[in-house]
Point group: C2
Chain length 490, copies 2
C-alpha cells in the first residue's frame, strides 16, 4: 500500500482532506455542503456522543427533542440574535411536489406555498424558549436542564468535511434558571465539562476563556469557549457555553413567580459541541501515515495480523491470536482479527495505520515457536517483541500510555508554539510562524477588527487563567491589564 | 389530584391525546404538525433506541449518517418510488434571509434561490443508493449493512402526537447484497428483530406477515410488517422491512463485479421503526389512570413515597427508604425517592400512576415500627404489605412479573378480539365490534380497494403463519387459498 496522503509539510489542508476521505471517516455528498459520515467516522462520533451524554446526565441534564423547523418570525424576536446571527439558512417555502404535467419527474406544487416560511434550525434558542413559556410558571419549575442531540443547518459558502458543513450534528443544551448567578454557574460548569471531555477523551489540551464582545454568540451576555491548537498552529474552537441573561426570556415572554410571588424573567444558558470535534481530533494528533486516535475514542483498540508463508501455518497462528483476543475483550478492549487472505500483511499494516488503530499485534510462525508476539503502537510507531504470556497486560497498559502520550505530545507542541509578543512586528512574525500569540490589547472592538483585517488573527479568548499584567496594546499602544489569546483560526 | 384523563370508554382518541400531554410525553409545537418530545417521553425513546441499536449491532450492522436534504430530481429516478410515495414534503427553495428593507424583521432573500430545490428527506433510499454507487465495486464490498438514526419529514395534513407527525424520529436500515436470497434473508431477519423488540421489550404481541401489492412500500418488491392491536381493536403497523430487489440499484446505477468478474446490479433491503412506536406502547397498555409501562422501557422503575403526619417523622422514613433504594439500584433498577413536601401523598400516587411507574413503595410510621412496607404494582393496581427485609427481592421479581403480565394481558385481549368471518355481514359486524378479522380475499387490488371503501378496513398483512385453507372471498366469492388479516388501522 503506497503512501496515500499528501504530507503535512507539503500541504496541510490537502493532507486533512485526504485523510478524512482515505480513512473512511466522511465524504462529500450530492448535496452541496452536506457530508456523508461513513461508518468508521460515525463510530467515533457515537463514542463521543455516549461519553458526553453520560457527562450531561451526571450533571443533572435530561434530553428532549424540539422541531427541526422554526417559523421565520421567531428569528426577529431577539434583536441581537437576528442582527448578529448569520442569515444563511435553508428556507422551506412549499410543502408538496407534484408530477410535472409537461413530462416526467416532479415539480414543486405552486399551490402548496406556506403562509409563513420555515427555517431549518441553525440553532434552537428561539423555538425552545417559545416552548419554555408554557413549561415555566413558578420557581418550582426551575431549573430546567435540557439537552438536545440534533442536526442543524447553516448555509456555509465554503465548506470542509467536519470543520464547516452546511448540515452538521451537534448537541445543544438549553437551561432555564431563577437567578443570574445560577445561570452563570451553569455556563461555567458546562464549559468545564467540555474541557474535561476534550482533554481526557480526545487528548487535546484546551485553553478556556471568555469571548470578546465581537466574538460573542449573537444574543449572549457572556460566551465562554475552549480553544485547541491544530498542528499548523491554528486555533479551533472546540466548544462554547453561553450566559444568555434574560434576553430570550424577554423576547419570548417567559416569566416565573419567585418565592415572594413576584413575576421575574427567567435566566438562560445554552452550550454546544458538534461534529466539528471530529475535525479537531483528526488534526490534533494524526501524521503522514494516517489517523492517530486516542484509545478512549477508538472504534477498534487492537488489530491482529497473522503473518504466514503457507496456508498450513494459518490455523495455529489464528488460534493463538484468538486466545489473546478473548483475553483482551474480557479486559474491555475492542479487538479485530484481520485474517483476510486477499491482501498481504504490509498492505494491512498501512491500512491499520491509516485508520489509527492504537495497537497492532503481529504473529508469525517463528514468534509462535518462540512463544512471543510483536506489538506495535500507532502513536510512536514503535515495535516491541514480548512474551505471549505478558502480551495481555502489555497491551492493556499501552492503552493508558498511548492516551497519556498523545495528550502530552499535543500539549508540548502547543507550549512550543505559544509565544508572548510585545510589538506588532513580533506579533505578526509569531503568527506567521504558526503560533498562538499572547498579547496585550486595548479592549476595543475597533482595534480587534483592525488587527483581524491586517493579520487574519482573531482574539480566540481572554483566558480564565490570564494573570493581571500591565502592558500596552500591540496595535494602538493604549494600556491593557492582561494578555489575551490571538491566533488564526478554523 | 382529580382524574385528568377522559375515560377510554367515553372517547378513546381523546383519552390518548390527554395521556400523551398530561403524562409529559410530548406536546404540539408552534410549527404545524411538529411535536416537542418532552424529557419523560424522550427517556422512553432513548431506551428504545439503545435496545434496538444493540440488536442491530449484534446482527452485524453499523451506523452512518447521510444528508438531511435530497435533490428533487432524485425522487424521479425510481419510477414506482416517485409514483407511490406521498408527495407531501418540505421543500427548500432558498438559502438566505435578509433584513426587511421596509421595516423590522427578516424576509427571504429572493436572490438566494437554489438552482434545484432540495427536499427534506421523507426516507433516504435515493440519497443513500446514490452514495452506495461509489462504495460498491466488487463482491468483496458486499454486503453493506448500514443503519441511520435520523429525523424525517412527511407533510401530513392530519397529525397526532407520535402516531402521525410532520417530523418524526426513526431509524432506517439500508443494506446492499450480492444475491436476492441474501437480501430476502436480511428482510426476514430484521422484521424478526423488530418482532423480538416489540414483544419482549414493549410487551406488545405482533402479527408478522407480508403486505399486499397495494400496501407495499413504493419501490419495494416485497414488504413485511408487524401489526399490533390497540385497545380499541384497531391495528398499528409497528415496523416494516422491505426487499427492494434491484430497483434502486438500477435507478442509481449501482453494479458490482461478481466472483466471475461479470457486472450485476446490487440487491437491496430497507427497514425502519419510528417514534410511532411510542404511540403503540401508550395505546396498547395504558388505562384510565394513565400510562402503564413495561419495566424494560420505564425511565423510572420504582418510586418511593414517605407517608407522615409530622415533620419529625420524615428523617426515619427517608432513611429506611434510602437504604432500600440503594439495594434496588445495586440490582440495576432506577429508583426515585419522591420526598417533595409541597404536595400530599394522594397527589403523588396519582401522578406516579399517570406516569406509569411500574412499582410504588409507600412507607408510614406504623410500617416503619412493624418492619413492613407497602408495595403497589401499576399494571394491576394491587397492593401488598411485605416485610422490609423481603422488599428488595419482591420488587426485583415484580419487574419480570409485570413485564410478563402486561404482555399476556395484551395477547389475551388480542385473542379475544380476533375473529374469523366467512360472510361480508359477519365481516362488517366483526370490524364494528373492534376486532381483527381473519377472512378470505380473492387476491386482487380491486377487491381490496372496494372493501376499504365500504368498510374502512385494510389488509394489514398476509400472516407468515396463515395456514392454507380453501375458501371464498368475503366480497366477491371468488376462491382463496388462505385467510388474511383485515383491520381498521392507525
Amino acid at each position: 500500500m503506497a503512501k496515500v496522503l499528501t504530507p503535512r509539510a507539503e500541504n496541510y489542508s490537502q493532507w486533512y482532506n485526504d485523510l478524512v476521505v482515505k480513512a473512511d471517516l466522511a465524504e462529500t455528498s450530492a448535496v452541496r455542503g452536506c457530508m456523508v459520515i461513513k461508518p468508521y467516522g460515525y463510530a467515533i462520533w457515537e463514542t463521543m456522543h455516549d461519553v458526553l451524554d453520560r457527562m450531561f446526565k451526571q450533571t443533572g441534564h435530561q434530553n428532549a427533542y424540539f422541531p427541526l423547523f422554526i417559523p421565520k418570525s421567531f428569528f426577529s424576536r431577539e434583536a441581537h440574535h437576528v442582527e448578529g446571527f448569520a442569515k444563511e439558512c435553508a428556507v422551506v417555502t412549499h410543502y408538496r411536489l407534484k408530477n410535472d404535467p409537461e413530462g416526467k419527474g416532479v415539480i414543486v406544487d405552486p399551490e402548496a406555498k406556506l403562509e409563513e416560511e420555515l427555517i431549518v434550525r441553525p440553532t434552537s434558542e428561539t423555538i425552545i424558549w417559545n416552548t419554555y413559556r408554557n413549561w415555566i410558571h413558578s420557581y418550582r419549575d426551575l431549573p430546567i436542564l435540557v439537552n438536545q442531540w440534533a442536526n442543524v443547518v447553516r448555509w456555509e459558502m465554503r465548506t470542509r468535511l467536519f470543520l464547516r458543513t452546511a448540515e452538521f450534528l451537534w448537541q445543544e443544551g438549553h437551561t432555564a434558571h431563577a437567578t443570574a448567578e445560577e445561570a452563570m454557574e451553569e455556563m461555567n460548569r458546562m464549559i468545564g465539562v467540555y474541557a474535561d471531555f476534550v482533554e481526557n477523551y480526545m487528548a487535546v489540551p484546551v485553553i478556556k476563556g471568555y469571548k470578546t464582545d465581537k466574538e460573542r454568540f449573537a444574543g449572549a451576555v457572556e460566551t465562554m469557549s475552549i480553544e485547541a491548537m491544530m498542528q499548523d498552529g491554528k486555533a479551533l474552537q472546540a466548544g462554547t457555553s453561553h450566559f444568555l441573561g434574560q434576553n430570550f426570556a424577554k423576547a419570548f415572554d417567559v416569566k416565573f413567580a419567585n418565592r415572594e410571588g413576584a413575576l421575574e424573567y427567567v435566566w438562560a444558558t445554552s452550550w454546544g459541541v458538534s461534529t466539528r470535534l471530529m475535525g479537531a481530533l483528526i488534526m490534533a494528533h494524526s501524521d503522514d501515515n494516517g489517523l492517530v486516535l486516542p484509545p478512549r475514542l477508538a472504534p477498534i483498540h487492537v488489530v491482529m495480523v497473522p503473518i504466514y508463508q503457507q496456508a498450513a501455518q494459518i490455523p495455529g497462528l489464528v488460534a493463538a491470536l484468538q486466545a489473546l483476543k478473548v483475553k483482551l475483550e474480557n479486559r474491555g478492549l475492542r479487538v479485530k482479527l484481520d485474517d483476510r487472505d486477499t491482501v498481504k500483511p504490509g498492505f494491512k499494516f498501512a491500512e491499520h495505520e491509516l485508520k489509527g488503530i492504537p495497537v497492532r499485534v503481529a504473529l508469525g510462525p517463528r514468534d509462535l515457536a518462540a512463544g512471543t508476539v510483536e506489538i506495535a503502537r500507532r502513536d510512536t510507531l514503535e515495535k516491541q517483541v514480548v512474551d505471549m504470556q505478558a502480551a495481555e497486560q502489555v497491551i492493556v497498559d499501552l492503552m493508558e500510555e498511548i492516551q497519556r502520550n498523545i495528550f502530552v505530545k499535543a500539549k508540548a507542541f502547543r507550549t512550543a508554539h505559544t509565544v508572548n509578543a510585545d510589538t506588532y512586528d513580533e506579533f505578526k512574525a509569531a503568527l506567521d510562524g504558526g503560533n498562538f500569540v499572547m498579547a496585550h490589547w486595548d479592549g476595543t472592538s475597533e482595534t480587534e477588527e483592525l488587527i483581524k483585517d491586517e493579520t487574519k488573527a482573531t482574539i480566540r479568548c481572554i483566558p480564565c487563567d490570564a494573570p493581571e499584567e500591565q502592558g500596552r496594546c500591540i496595535r494602538t499602544g493604549r494600556p491593557s491589564a492582561r494578555r489575551v489569546l490571538f491566533a488564526r483560526a478554523y
